[in-house]
Symmetry: C2
Subunit: 258 residues, 2 copies
């Protein structure tokens, strides 16, 4: 996982957008410009990438690891409102300060683009503009999915919906989901406290919910951060009316993995 820093110097950085399949379809000239204003950053788990209210001077893209988008309450508590994984863009293009803080949930590598030049490039490249627009639009849909998830009244239901979304959304992210045979293996490198905040509950209740799912034979707890999904349809049923169209999403998932 550790990247040798010497690999990053010189040519690797100049032409090194190969680690970002997100941009792979852009025209070479745009890629060239992008790589020119680009840099890499590494964050350890828990480090802050962007502070709330900060006017950051860069736009970022996650190339490895997980970032959490969170708000700090007046009383000091922190609530997570989103997670960013591989190929997720973040940054307030054309806009003012960030309204939420961004912290590394795991050791994370991000690709940065200087904001000013990126905005210029954005106005010149139709392709890049589309890319960014669609990315934000998708993020909006995901946020709304989260709202549906949080609207579920039972903690087990919210947890089931969460696991379901993870399977669907991060199906291709090797860090998080593996597919041994017919079951999924999820690794969620987030503390119980964080996960509880994310699902709008307390660590104790979340723990009970996790073990309730395990007792029902729906999941298997390999470690506190590693689950195996045994009964996918039961998960969907528990999620109840959580996801937008569980059926369609499930079909998509089945098509992808057989």
């Amino acid at each position: 996982m550790s990247l040798n820093s010497s690999d990053l110097s010189g040519l690797a950085t100049a032409k090194g957008l190969g680690d970002l399949p997100l941009f792979s379809k852009l025209p070479p000239s745009v890629l060239d410009e992008l790589s020119r204003i680009s840099g890499r950053r590494l964050y350890g788990a828990g480090q802050t990438v962007v502070h709330a209210q900060e006017v950051s001077d860069f736009v970022g893209c996650v190339s490895r690891g997980i970032l959490r988008v969170q708000a700090t309450m007046p009383d000091g508590q922190q609530h997570i409102v989103g997670l960013l994984v591989e190929n997720d863009l973040f940054g307030r293009v054309f806009d003012g300060p960030h309204k939420f803080a961004i912290e590394a949930a795991t050791d994370t590598e991000i690709r940065t683009f200087r904001r000013g030049p990126f905005e210029d490039l954005l106005t010149h490249s139709v392709e890049l503009e589309r890319l960014v627009l669609l990315n934000i639009l998708n993020e909006l849909d995901r946020a709304r999915e989260w709202m549906l998830l949080l609207a579920n009244h039972r903690v087990t239901g919210r947890l089931a919906g969460f696991l379901f979304i993870l399977c669907r959304r991060w199906g291709k992210v090797t860090d998080v989901v593996q597919v041994p045979g017919q079951t999924f293996e999820l690794e969620i490198p987030v503390s119980r406290t964080d996960l509880a905040q994310l699902l709008g509950t307390r660590p104790e209740s979340l723990s009970r919910a996790v073990h309730a799912l395990a007792r029902s034979g729906i999941i298997r707890i390999e470690s506190p951060y590693k689950f195996e999904i045994l009964k996918f349809d039961a998960l969907v049923e528990l999620a109840g009316g959580d996801a937008i169209d569980t059926n369609q999403s499930f079909r998509t998932l089945q098509q992808r993995f057989g």
Copy 2:
């Protein structure tokens, strides 16, 4: 920020975009193009503007009334994930089908733009592009605010946060908020059932919460759909850690209204 409509008569209103201050700062040529591909539509309360999974042929902007963005569950229940008010844009630019249905919560008038030409215009006009991008970015932030709101464990807290956000966000929307002296008068033309879904609870619990707030002297119930906010700070306190930075938002609100 209020633009006299007569000021626009030469450019915008002549072509009929004067009702949309959102676009007022765009260059005349773009306005011209916009009005050329534009139309008006009226919807009665309850009518569907866009079906879920539908690939709509237009991009819309609310000029009057309230739209609700909602998902239909497998069991038939409907959950609201967002509300659209005056000057809110909606539509999946460059993208596939809508993931959520859009219905009129009240009698609503929207301004439509044919999607293809709008996308073309978007790629040609930097200003319009920025406008759309910022609009979506703001919507994303609002969705995340909603997540914070829904993360509150008590129904009264969620309701308080909801009322707070309404005051802050629709402070200028005459349809919803009036400012008689020092108190706010909110009109929420949404059924209790819808409101309950929006806040992740049941109509009964919501009703109790509303009357609990009334008994505490925080609000006054004028009618089931019309409240007067009496103690704003108490509202904020009940919302607890709901909004991102209640303090700053409150200051903004105070500055706006004295």
